[in-house]
């Protein structure tokens, strides 16, 4: 693969009930990413935005943000899905030889809609939709399947919440930062067994943008380039009953593709920092396994070992992760932005010292039907 770099990143602060509208949010991060890269809009060859018509409460929702992302007069296209997939598409466009740079943006203001009702619309209207499931109740089925099979405990899941909400205190963009204990998580209200209030990510509004560039165009950027070393994407079956919810073969496949491309053979040793899509605390443990940071069923032991906390062998979610800011379609791209900042040494109080290889992971669909993995390096 020709070399492609991330040369600019921009994020809003994530919070609930932002008064900026979609275009204002996207303009903020597009501007920030351009300033970060030391570029002007004339340096951008094409644009990939990210929208979801149901979440955005309008059809052809990309048109509400296209101009704010700099699309006027350019080839602009749109992805409906997690931001990692928009970046994946942006990467392909950059590799096509047609464009030297790609602006990738994503925004979400789920607080303006009805999150549980909107998520229920993800289920097949002819079959399961009338059961009234949403993200929490469907993911509770996955959490239990995983925990029951491997003997992972609620306390081990709670440790993810304690770690990530604690890490969020070092991230000025985070929505929810908390100084809490395992006991606090265990005593928080039960929502859908085994998932409790503090196991769940918040509903956050926000936006994120990154700029991708070919090697030649990256030379003109202000900051040192962060290179894309490997990417992988894979989808599982749609219906929950057709999947083994206790494991994530789609993540294993996505990670395997990204590692092969990047030449990674021992991810737990070769990756210095990871940002993963922990929409619920149990997910981070499952994703440790899917990403090969530990063996199958050993996610609970890995969090217990302290290896994934700040100062550990492989810190996971120094930013506080999705548990601390869940602006749905933004969350994956935010993982890429954070993974890039780590390699530049610009992650400030959340910096993992000397990080040279970082990983970003995004997910989408009911119980993370699809996964996208990025390996980045200096």
């Amino acid at each position: 693969m020709d070399r492609v770099a991330i040369v600019g990143v921009g994020q809003t602060k994530y919070e609930r009930g932002k008064t900026k509208n979609f275009a204002e949010l996207v303009y903020e991060v597009t501007r920030k990413a351009l300033d970060d890269a030391g570029m002007g809009l004339s340096d951008i060859d094409n644009v990939v935005t990210t929208t979801n018509d149901f979440y955005d409460g309008r059809t052809i929702a990309c048109m509400a943000v296209a101009e704010a992302a700099g699309s006027y007069g350019r080839d602009a296209t749109n992805v409906e899905g997690d931001g990692t997939l928009s970046a994946f598409y942006g990467l392909m466009r950059t590799l096509s030889g047609v464009y030297g740079t790609t602006m990738v943006t994503t925004h979400c203001k789920l607080s303006e809609g009805s999150p549980r009702k909107l998520f229920n619309q993800a289920f097949d209207p002819v079959y399961e939709r009338s059961l009234g499931m949403d993200a929490i109740s469907s993911c509770a089925l996955q959490a239990r399947a995983y925990m029951h099979r491997f003997g992972v405990t609620e306390e081990q899941c709670a440790r993810v919440s304690v770690k990530n909400h604690g890490n969020a205190r070092n991230n000025p963009y985070a929505h929810v930062s908390l100084d809490i204990t395992v006991d606090d998580v265990m005593k928080s209200p039960m929502l859908a067994e085994p998932i409790k209030r503090l196991d769940v990510s918040p509903i956050s509004d926000g936006a994120c943008a990154i700029i991708l560039a070919t090697e030649e165009r990256a030379k003109k950027a202000a900051k040192k380039p962060v290179w894309v070393r490997g990417v992988g994407h894979c989808a599982d079956a749609y219906r929950l009953g057709e999947r083994d919810l206790s494991v994530s073969p789609a993540l294993e496949a996505a990670a395997g593709r990204a590692y092969r491309m990047a030449g990674i053979t021992d991810p737990s040793r070769e990756i210095n920092v990871a940002e993963v899509y922990d929409a619920f605390s149990y997910m981070e443990l499952m994703w440790y396994e899917g990403l090969g940071f530990c063996g199958q069923g050993e996610g609970g032991k890995l969090i217990d070992s302290g290896a994934t906390q700040m100062g550990g062998r492989l810190p996971v979610n120094p930013s506080g992760g999705v548990l601390s800011a869940h602006s749905v379609q933004v969350a994956g791209l935010a993982r890429i932005a954070e993974a890039a900042l780590q390699l530049r040494g610009e992650a400030e109080k959340r910096q993992v010292p000397g990080a040279k290889v970082s990983l970003a992971h995004g997910a989408g669909g009911i119980c993370a039907q699809t996964h996208c993995v990025w390996v980045l390096s200096n």
């Binding site: 209207p125 089925l141 029951h148 929950l240 009953g241």
Partner: protein, 161 residues
């Protein structure tokens, strides 16, 4: 306009927030497979599709096998009973979504003769006594409507542990 009406203008931090409702009538063709599945439920029969390539029996059925891309056109009747694969007891209230009041349970039930699980409601059960592997049985609605709730819920088979 019926479909989207600005109901109210609010103010936050000196800026305006327009509040409305989106209500859009829609129809969804159930397709040949689901239509036949629901016809079976009228007779209290649960039918699945068997993949001619990999022999996977999918319940509820669909048109295409996700594993081998086979065209699913062979029908098999499966049992009304099966085993509970996983479940959750829901405690939060979402009255416009949930068909029953919490606490109640969702489960995935693999019926005897099927290779895939059916996600559904669990009823007539001691919620504290639910266990993986528990034997469950479909309870059919008296007057079927041709939708997923023609199976009202699955209940534990008497004496099941």
């Amino acid at each position: 306009m019926d479909n989207e009406t600005i109901l109210e203008v609010k103010e936050k931090d000196g800026l305006l927030i327009h509040q409305g409702v989106i209500r859009v009538p829609y129809t969804w063709a159930a397709g040949a497979v689901a239509s036949r599945f629901y016809a079976g439920l009228r007779d209290k029969k649960i039918c699945g599709a068997r993949c001619p390539k990999c022999q996977l029996v999918l319940v509820p059925p669909k048109k295409t096998c996700h594993q081998c891309f086979g065209d699913l056109n062979e029908w098999v009747e499966v049992s009304n009973e099966g085993s509970l694969q996983t479940f959750t007891v829901v405690h939060y209230h979402e009255p416009e979504l949930h068909p029953i009041k919490p606490p109640f349970a969702y489960g995935i039930i693999k019926l005897d003769g099927a290779d895939t699980g059916m996600t559904h409601l669990i009823g007539e059960a001691d919620l504290k006594g639910l266990r993986e592997g528990m034997r469950m049985k479909a309870v059919f609605k008296e007057k079927p409507d041709g939708n997923y709730l023609d199976i009202k819920y699955f209940k534990p088979v008497k004496g099941a542990k």
